[in-house]
């Protein structure tokens, strides 16, 4: 039978494989799903607008140079002083102590889970880390204030009631699951062939872990550190409860400081009149915080994409 007669036998052959009947319901559903996706775009737009508009009004009243270089933060006093440096220093001071805990222990946990633990142990240990990640930050704050600060005093450290050290160390514990699970993902993505090759050359687990797996997963590991920093910078409740709300320009971990987030949290719930410079300060500080975390998030997203491109 020739091709032509086949076509004739099959009747009218559609010119495309698409359905000849229009499915309007299908289109409606696609539009509805697209609208769902639009919600997150609108959220970002809303965040940027809600920060930018009052922040720009703020910078019309307060010189941005004074804001970003001033070393006295006293927006609610008379005369007011809007130097954000003490808040930024406070933020990074807490972040430093948090990373000092989170990076070694998070990375160590990741290496153990990826290279040493048997699948059976992984099934038990990973959910434990998830539980740690699930504890509300207000609980960590309470723990830092009522358990860790007294312990530091027992150990002979002259810490104030509110201090950077206790808050920072507890924040570090909070970040361990973030760093561990992201790094572990990156290490698990390293092809088995690299491990087998190294073992074949006579390497032991220590050498495989530190000289093959960690370097091969480096972009993912760095991404986890950057995300950890971003989360530490954005953490509010631990700082508000255990580190304090006193804006001081100091690196001393035994004293209390304030941070970008703590200022927003402590001031935002007040009844500051809408439109006052003090009210707009919240948004200027919020914008500073948002830009800082945005830059770190984008670096982290790019690094993760890099290792996925190489190995997946």
């Amino acid at each position: 039978m020739s091709a032509q007669s086949l076509e004739a036998a099959a009747g009218a052959v559609p010119t495309s494989l698409r359905s000849s009947r229009k499915h309007y319901g299908e289109k409606v559903i696609q539009v509805l799903l697209g609208l769902c996706a639009l919600v997150s775009i609108v959220t970002t737009l809303g965040i940027v607008l809600s920060l930018l508009v009052p922040a720009l009004e703020f910078f019309a009243e307060v010189n941005p140079v004074d804001f970003f270089t001033g070393t006295t933060w006293a927006p609610l006093f008379e005369p007011a002083s809007f130097g954000v440096v003490p808040l930024i220093v406070g933020t990074f001071s807490v972040t430093f102590w948090a990373l000092l805990v989170a990076i070694p222990f998070g990375l160590g946990s990741a290496i153990y889970l990826s290279e040493y633990a048997s699948p059976k142990r992984q099934v038990v240990l990973k959910p434990m880390l998830e539980i740690l990640a699930g504890i509300p930050t207000v609980v960590y704050g309470y723990f830092a204030l009522t358990a860790v600060t007294p312990l530091l005093r027992t150990l002979g450290l002259q810490v104030e009631i509110f201090n950077v050290l206790a808050g920072g160390l507890v924040m570090g514990v909070m970040l361990i699951p973030t760093i561990a699970s992201l790094s572990e993902d990156a290490m698990a993505a390293v092809p088995q062939g690299l491990r087998d090759g190294a073992y074949g050359l006579g390497a032991d687990k220590l050498q495989v872990s530190t000289r093959v797996i960690v370097p091969a997963a480096m972009s993912g590991i760095i991404a986890s550190f950057v995300l950890g920093i971003s989360r530490a910078v954005g953490e509010t409740m631990i700082v508000l409860i255990a580190v304090g709300q006193q804006a001081k320009l100091t690196f001393n971990p035994l004293e209390g400081v304030s941070t970008l987030t703590a200022f927003i949290g402590a001031t935002g719930n007040g009844d500051l009149p809408t439109g006052s410079t003090e009210y707009k300060t919240i948004f200027a500080v919020g914008l500073t915080l948002f830009v800082m975390t945005l830059v770190m998030n984008i670096i982290s997203i790019r690094l993760v994409r890099k290792y996925r491109e190489v190995y997946d």
Binding site: A37, S40, T43, I135, V138, Y142, T146, D204
Partner: protein, 280 residues
């Protein structure tokens, strides 16, 4: 033992130790909070409103508000989150710039500090459109906070369904939506449920954004959706700030209730995942 073996052993011990540190701190946190809170964990905590007298004070309005918020967040975030995930996985053409932007946008939103969402709520919902400091505003903001988590988890669940399932559906003449709603979505429900419950537990424990929309307030009556409210984690913060030892005890007791809700949800999610994990 030679030096190389000693080094290997020391390294392995260090790795185990670093994992043990987290477990140790977790145990310390749970035990010390329990010891602090057990004396104040009684019926009064669930039946009484807050009070200036620690022996009278309870957290009834806060606990109820947290339950209401959880239900509302679930109702808002799951349909929108799953809808977005279906759009991204099943419909979106990856090479279009707006779909790539959507992807990066959601990854970034997942890492935006929660307190920034609070600023959004303060500017738009509370003062902007003038809804005021009500429970619904809190639920809306927490929905936005956890939405990226729901989307990311749902996308992973959808992606885990092999393409052969879709092709099989198409071969039988099903339309795209029939394939998605009858084949792909049912197969990915365990994954979506796990992610949604984890996201919900995060919403329940979230405090910072609620501070900005005025949940730090004295509420003596049972909350309503359009009325003023305080949530359980905010109540904990209120009590932690008070110097009286009685309030510290109440804070610890409220934390036990909060942890019971949050860790209970985590346990359900982890159970669901291990029970329904499907190998294709």
């Amino acid at each position: 033992m030679n030096a190389r073996k000693v080094r290997a052993r020391v390294f392995q011990t260090l790795m185990i130790f670093s994992l043990a540190v987290s477990m140790g701190v977790l145990a310390w946190l749970l035990i010390s909070t329990f010891i602090d809170g057990i004396p104040a964990l009684d019926a009064k905590l669930f039946t009484n409103p807050p009070s200036s007298l620690p022996e009278e004070a309870g957290a009834r309005p806060a606990i109820l508000a947290t339950l209401y918020i959880a239900v509302l967040v679930l109702l808002f975030s799951v349909p929108i989150g799953v809808g977005t995930a279906i759009y991204m996985e099943e419909y979106a053409k990856k090479e279009r710039w707006y779909n790539r932007f959507l992807e990066v946008n959601i990854q970034n939103l997942a890492a935006v500090p929660a307190i920034v969402y609070g600023i959004l709520g303060l500017a738009f919902i509370v003062r902007g459109i003038g809804v005021g400091r009500v429970l619904l505003a809190g639920a809306l903001i927490l929905t936005l906070v956890v939405l990226p988590t729901v989307i990311i988890a749902s996308r992973e669940a959808l992606r885990a369904v092999p393409d052969s399932i879709r092709q099989g559906g198409y071969a039988l003449g099903a339309t795209k939506w029939q394939v998605i709603s009858k084949q792909v979505l049912p197969a990915s429900i365990p994954g979506i449920a796990t992610g949604s419950i984890l996201a919900l537990s995060r919403a329940v424990g979230e405090t910072a954004p609620l501070l900005l929309i005025g949940a730090l307030t004295y509420v003596a009556f049972d909350p309503t959706i359009l009325g003023p409210f305080t949530a359980l984690p905010v109540q904990v913060y209120t009590w932690v700030k008070l110097p009286d030892a009685g309030f510290q005890q109440l804070a610890a007791a409220a934390i036990i209730v909060l942890l019971a809700i949050v860790l209970g949800m985590n346990a359900i999610a982890i159970f669901l995942r291990s029970k329904f994990r499907q190998k294709w």
